[in-house]
Symmetry: C2
Subunit: 104 residues, 2 copies
């Protein structure tokens, strides 16, 4: 869980996850979307890999990255369950949440 939250503490990495939630991308395609060197991006990708939030598959000279959604949800659930008194998995009322929404 530590690795997960550590990985999620960077907005760059959260954006990578958001991109991958739409479609798989190669390392190069990901790096095009950021104003940052490829090695820097590569490090972010390896942090997400180590946290089990993404996976990479080498195809020829490319590495295709994809989201591992189950791990994302599993870790979030493990965490959030602490705050549900009944110990049940999440059941949120969207209205109550929207009320407190802050734009980022």
């Amino acid at each position: 869980m530590n690795d997960t939250f550590q990985a999620l503490s960077s907005s760059v990495r959260r954006k990578i996850l958001a991109y991958l939630s739409k479609t798989d991308l190669t390392a190069g395609e990901i790096s095009e979307r950021f104003e940052m060197s490829k090695p820097a991006l590569s490090k972010h990708l390896s942090i997400l890999m180590n946290a089990g939030l993404i996976q990479g598959e080498k195809k020829g000279q490319y590495v295709h990255y994809s989201l591992v959604k189950e791990n994302l949800f599993a870790n979030m659930n493990d965490f959030l369950v602490n705050f549900c008194p009944q110990g049940r998995p999440l059941k949120l009322e969207s209205a109550e949440i929207k009320k407190n929404k802050k734009t980022d």
Copy 2:
């Protein structure tokens, strides 16, 4: 959202939240639960405060801290909604999640 995930990236701070999910505590009571100096704990508390995840109320010479659960859920929801294709709030099947559970 950055502040929230930054705050959650520390296991000490996640433990503080877990304690506060059970009951309100003073700064001193919180620091007793960790092997760390009071100033160090105080800094963790201020990070959680800045993220809006806890609030402190001064009563006499004590400061009583409590969880602000709504902000926790709101931020998590804002984040997780990205990964729900329909854009709906979370609806997870606990069985599928348990399968991938990793102990921390």
